[in-house]
């Protein structure tokens, strides 16, 4: 009877295979094409310094995209990342300006590490609100995070009255210098923001591929009911991914305001779309359960390198818009055609 079963397809092998990666990663092709084209068009493109600068620009989107990937793997979507980025930037900014404690009449200047921790906690909490709305109150993810997107943005605007916090550098006598470190320092020539991105990406990769949580995430994204019946704590997984996405947005917010040494409440508008585009270009399915950190990073770099290249070569900003849209569709199209041939699913 064993003759009725089909042989295992030859390409299936868990081991890390570079070839397979290249073949599967249309995002990788897209990236190579982009780099090649722009290097040809502008002598300034293919330089180490430009790549580092571009990478540090990608960092913001990359961080958001990692959080978005987690949510999308879970079968959800998070529209609030841009707003959380703004809100946490503003909160970080407010803390750097000092907290006035009315009862004592003093202004407290928390040290930078405390600012960072508080900001991350706030981001995580807002993310957790998303998670609770989606997991426990069963609000569709699109709606829940859309609502939170508005609310978080509104709160950020209210906090600052629409204005931007400046002077985030801190001052030595208040003991709160160092905020700029995140955004503008370099270690061995690599901007800190790039290192932060790399760190987060590696952690996310480890979590997804080596831990039980990672498998729970893929399982509940693939078939939530089945995962639940197998004892996967699906609600916990859900709340956690939104929380992590919120926290990563806060990290992005900190990096951004550190890069700019200012924090404004309108930062990050429409970044959610860019983050989603990065994840999807990276091969993830919006229906959940499919996608990798590597792909997402490639997706983020495709978008970032493309827009930087368009600016460097002096393409008008309108054409930039057109090209961005075109590349998003093309990159995903390549995939559809590729799998459309092989896969049996409709």
């Amino acid at each position: 009877m064993s003759d009725t079963t089909k042989p295992a397809p030859a390409t299936r092998s868990e081991g890390f295979s570079l070839l397979k990666l290249l073949l599967e990663g249309r995002a990788f092709f897209a990236l190579i094409v982009i780099v090649a084209v722009f290097s040809y068009l502008s002598p300034n493109y293919f330089t180490t310094s430009n790549f580092l600068i571009m990478a540090s620009q990608v960092a913001i989107f990359g961080l958001l995209a990692i959080g978005m990937l987690l949510v999308i793997l879970n079968g959800g979507i998070d529209l609030s990342v841009g707003s959380i980025l703004a809100l946490s930037g503003v909160i970080g900014g407010a803390l750097m300006q000092g907290v006035e404690i009315d009862a004592l009449g003093v202004i407290l200047y928390p040290p930078v590490w405390a600012v960072v921790v508080i900001t991350l906690v706030v981001g995580a909490l807002v993310g957790a609100v998303n998670g609770v709305l989606v997991a426990y109150l069963k609000v569709p993810a699109f709606v829940a995070t859309l609502g939170v997107m508005y609310v978080a943005r509104g709160v950020a605007l209210l906090m600052t009255n629409g204005l931007t916090y400046n002077r985030l550098a801190g001052s030595p006598d208040l003991g709160n210098t160092g905020f700029k470190w995140l955004g503008s320092e370099r270690i061995a020539g690599v901007p800190i923001s790039v290192l932060v991105l790399a760190f987060c990406a590696i952690v996310a990769w480890l979590v997804l591929s080596r831990t039980a949580f990672g498998r729970w995430l893929y399982a509940s994204g693939g078939n939530e009911r089945a995962a639940e019946l197998s004892g996967v704590p699906v609600k916990f997984v859900k709340v956690t991914v939104y929380t992590l996405s919120g926290m990563l947005s806060a990290v992005a917010g900190l990096v951004l305001s550190s890069q700019l040494t200012s924090a404004g409440p309108t930062a990050g508008t429409t970044y959610e779309l860019t983050a989603i585009a990065a994840v999807v270009i990276g091969g993830a399915a919006l229906t959940g359960g499919r996608g990798t950190v590597l792909g997402t990073m490639l997706g983020a770099f495709v978008i970032g390198f493309l827009s930087a290249g368009l600016v460097i070569t002096g393409v008008s900003s309108y054409w930039q818009t057109v090209f961005t849209g075109g590349v998003i569709v093309l990159a995903v199209l390549m995939n559809s055609i590729q799998t459309g041939k092989g896969g049996r699913k409709a």
Binding site: I53, L260, S262
Partner: protein, 282 residues
């Protein structure tokens, strides 16, 4: 800034034309008010080894970092149209005198409206300090007439569609207003569309700011009372000229970093002198 507004469009075009006249190649890019995009664009300018950056800062506070970055890379920066809250960074800050312009506009507005009645105001994007500067300028003048009562104020983000919808609702809330003063022309034009639709254009006098071609048309048509021309064409040109001087001589040739360019009033009387976008020939 966002080139979908004729004001900023002219700003970029004039600067570009002037630079090319002086033998430079110029790239015009827009940050659309986003400080992160602005910072990205500055990075690119650095990568492209630009000789000078003419920047309309996105944000008085938020743009300091970007300017700092360019200065650190040894590129002179000239700011136009809006200021940043730090001196000594840019080689020059060439801006129209918003306060003076607002006062000028408000006086003309009071003249048109009369000195008693209810009015409403459309406010620009609050993240842009010009919005507050202009609003304060209006305030200073109008409060001298205690019988002019501000019945409402709405943020319409410099945008025509929002100006239209916010005005419609403001009219519902205050059917008896006699005047509307807007932070820029786009919002004023949106308001005019709403007033026309409500048949109240005769009752409500509208004032704008910027001196855009559309507004000038509206003045000609008698729909808009006046607009305040920002000499954007002048200071854009001047910024490039000073940059050129600085590159060649190390001096900008201007007396101070902050240079205010006075605004001019366009009313039905002098509207014919408006020869090109944002240019009023004397």
């Amino acid at each position: 800034n966002d080139p979908a507004n004729p004001y900023w469009f002219t700003e970029g075009e004039v600067a570009k034309a002037t630079a090319e006249e002086l033998g430079y190649t110029a790239n015009v890019s827009s940050h659309k008010g986003d400080t992160n995009t602005e910072s990205t664009l500055v990075d690119t300018a650095i990568t492209n080894k630009s000789v000078a950056i003419i920047l309309d800062p996105a944000n008085a506070d938020g743009s300091i970092g970007a300017v700092q970055k360019a200065v650190d890379a040894g590129i002179p920066v000239f700011l136009v149209n809006a200021e940043i809250n730090q001196e000594g960074l840019a080689k020059g800050q060439l801006v129209s005198n918003n306060a003076q312009g607002a006062a000028l506009g408000a006086q003309q507005w009071v003249e048109a409206v009369g000195d008693a009645g209810k009015f409403v105001e459309l406010f620009g994007n609050p993240a842009d300090n010009n919005a507050a500067t202009r609003s304060n300028g209006y305030e200073t003048v109008i409060t001298q007439y205690p019988d002019l009562v501000k019945a409402g104020q709405e943020v319409a983000n410099w945008d025509r569609t929002q100006g239209y919808q916010k005005t419609q609702s403001l009219l519902q809330a205050n059917p008896d207003v006699i005047g509307l003063i807007a932070g820029n022309d786009e919002m004023a034009l949106g308001a005019i569309a709403a007033l026309k639709e409500a048949g109240k254009l005769a009752q409500v006098k509208v004032g704008g700011f910027d001196g855009s071609p559309d507004a000038v048309e509206a003045i000609k048509a008698g729909e808009l009372q006046y607009t305040v021309l920002q000499p954007v064409a002048i200071f854009s040109r001047e910024a490039v000229v000073q940059a050129d001087k600085f590159i060649k001589t190390g001096e900008t040739g201007a007396a101070s970093e902050k240079q205010l360019f006075d605004c001019l009033l366009i009313t039905a009387d002098n509207v014919d002198k408006y020869t090109a976008p944002f240019v009023l020939s004397e």
